[in-house]
């Protein structure tokens, strides 16, 4: 009996290892294929380019990872990104400096996130429905504030640096992103809040019966998600130097894709920001190689969509 359990435990350990590493193995294979497919892929400037592109997606995916971990979803991220970018552009146009713009943006993001969380937990409504509605509201605000037009801004150097600056040879937004991921990882692994986040995603009712304020945990997670989406909005504004009322439209599907491809379970409770980084790089490499090979946007959509489906199918298989 003991031998038997020992064996099955070993088999389990191997399975768990494989399960945890599938997306990493896929990433390495993809990396090798990309290197072979284009002579321009394996180059420092190209990697810098991929990392810079990944910063916006990365901030959106960071918050969404936590939301998915607690068993939720946030479809309003693109709207938060857009609204923060528009408000930021208008403020810069009015003469505001870097710090007020960033603080206002983050407050807007947290406010919208908290509102999402309160509506979801307070009324017990599906997060899908609430955040979809919120997405339309936010997009409508973007158009209302600008009357549908792009806001052109004379960008101060300090603000431009957020997305386009480098420290050494590393893009500055990548440093911001890496810091945010590191802090999130530490928070999720070592703090009580981090544990509750996983626990709520695993079995919310048990968490409630254990005397934990499960609703507060969820509201906090949606608030954090709003803050990271706001960071994405600020980087977006800095990167393209204009306030685009359509910024972030349709981006949410790629972000969900990145989170799931990386290996986070869509049903919640299992995953972590490390998996999300893998998913982001997979998406980043694919869009990059398709551009480098001159295949165009249509092919990129087909490729990314297919990968999302495969990733979800693999999760399904693992579950049974």
């Amino acid at each position: 009996m003991n031998l038997l359990t020992g064996q099955s435990l070993n088999a389990l350990a191997v399975r768990v290892w494989f399960k945890k590493s599938t997306s990493l193995i896929a990433l390495l294979i993809l990396f090798t294929l990309c290197s072979l497919a284009s002579p321009y892929f394996f180059a420092v400037t190209n990697f810098q380019n991929i990392l810079r592109q990944t910063a916006i997606n990365g901030f959106l995916a960071l918050g969404l990872t936590m939301v998915i971990l607690v068993g939720g979803i946030d479809l309003s991220l693109g709207g938060i990104l857009g609204l923060v970018a528009i408000v930021g552009a208008l403020m810069l146009k009015g003469g505001s400096g870097l710090i007020p713009v960033v603080i206002t943006g983050v407050i807007i993001g947290m406010g919208v996130g908290a509102l999402n969380g309160l509506l979801i937990t307070g009324f017990g409504i599906e997060p899908f429905v609430i955040t979809l509605g919120m997405q339309f509201v936010l997009r409508g605000l973007c158009f209302s504030l600008t009357e549908g037009r792009t806001v052109f801004v004379e960008m101060p150097f300090s603000f431009d640096f957020i997305a386009n600056g480098d420290i050494g040879s590393i893009p500055f937004p990548t440093i911001l992103l890496a810091t945010a991921y590191l802090l999130s990882y530490l928070m999720m692994r070592f703090t009580v809040f981090g544990r509750y986040l996983y626990a709520v995603g695993g079995n919310e009712e048990v968490v409630r019966l254990a005397g934990i304020n499960n609703r507060l945990v969820k509201v906090a997670v949606y608030t954090i998600c709003g803050a990271t989406a706001a960071m994405a909005g600020i980087i977006n504004l800095s990167r393209i130097n204009v306030g685009d009322p359509q910024a972030g439209e349709g981006i949410i599907l790629f972000i969900i894709g990145a989170v799931i491809i990386g290996g986070n379970k869509f049903i919640g409770g299992l995953g972590g920001v490390g998996y999300t980084i893998i998913g982001l790089l997979i998406i980043g490499f694919i869009s990059n190689i398709i551009i480098l090979m001159g295949l165009g946007y249509y092919i990129q959509l087909i490729a990314e969509g297919s990968i999302i489906i495969v990733a979800v199918l693999m999760q399904k298989e693992r579950k049974s």
Partner: protein, 261 residues
């Protein structure tokens, strides 16, 4: 000796349905009380009232002879009354220490008070001590409890329930989903806890289970108390008769049988 828990004259209606009528229960330390009855007899309703999950319409609960009001699972837990539901209420995606300490995490020194950083090492150490003390064999406590066997999961649920000084343990169908060997392990664990002075209520449909671990057996039928028997003074036949026909056998009268009030 006063019972640790006494329930007196408990009645409960659900709409027009009488779930419990004037039921008494007495439970002593170091004793396993088997609670049996057909479906709808009121077993779960009775223990749910004790665990604070539902409120009774009338009747009172005494804890060590003093009247207490249990209006919420929190109140029951404060008294040391812990319940293990059939679903076990485990968080499958977390490991063993995380489940044992959920909601009661050990934090690290002064830094921990501000940032609420967990002391994972300490929680693992305490979990190992607990499992050793209860003679529960789980090789890797860092395994997600969803990957453990049914018996191990039951043991984790029991471990969590008693870790914080439980005095009374309520178990709903503890062995329903277990194989023979695992059932035996859970039985041993229950006996071990009883010998350490815990008072335990076990609900089960399985007569072998009940006769294996109970000291006393209490029979309910359609919300009414049929009687209480000491295991040594009854037989499976008599208990089955009480469950099915709702009447105690002629010899021991109900007043004598219910040595519980």
């Amino acid at each position: 000796m006063t019972p640790i828990v006494q329930m007196k004259g408990i009645s409960k209606h659900f709409g027009g349905v009488e779930a419990l009528r004037d039921v008494d229960l007495a439970l002593y330390e170091g004793e396993v009380l088997g609670l049996v009855g057909d479906n709808g007899a009121g077993k779960s309703t009775l223990v749910n009232i004790l665990s604070g999950a539902i409120l009774s319409d009338s009747g009172e609960i005494l804890f060590r002879g003093e009247k207490v009001y249990i209006k919420h699972p929190r109140d029951a837990k404060r008294l040391g009354i812990e319940t293990i539901y059939q679903s076990l209420a485990l968080i499958d995606n977390l490991d063993v220490p995380a489940n044992v300490f959920i909601g009661r995490e050990i934090k690290r020194g002064s830094l921990g008070r501000i940032f609420r950083i967990m002391n994972r090492g300490e929680m693992e150490k305490k979990t190992r001590e607990l499992l050793d003390r209860l003679k529960i064999g789980i090789e890797s406590i860092r395994e997600r409890v969803g990957n453990l066997s049914g018996g191990q999961r039951q043991s984790v649920a029991i471990g969590r329930a008693i870790f914080f000084n439980a005095k009374v343990l309520i178990m709903d169908e503890p062995t329903a989903a277990l194989g023979v060997e695992e059932t035996e392990k859970v039985h041993n664990l229950v006996r071990h806890l009883r010998d350490r002075g815990l008072a335990i209520i076990v609900i089960s449909h399985n007569m072998n289970d009940i006769f294996e671990i109970s000291d006393k057996i209490m029979v309910l039928k359609t919300g009414k108390l049929v009687g209480v028997r000491k295991k040594a003074e009854t037989s499976m036949d008599e208990i089955l008769r009480m469950i099915i026909f709702g009447e105690p056998s002629p010899e021991p009268e109900q007043s004598q049988g219910s040595g519980n009030v």
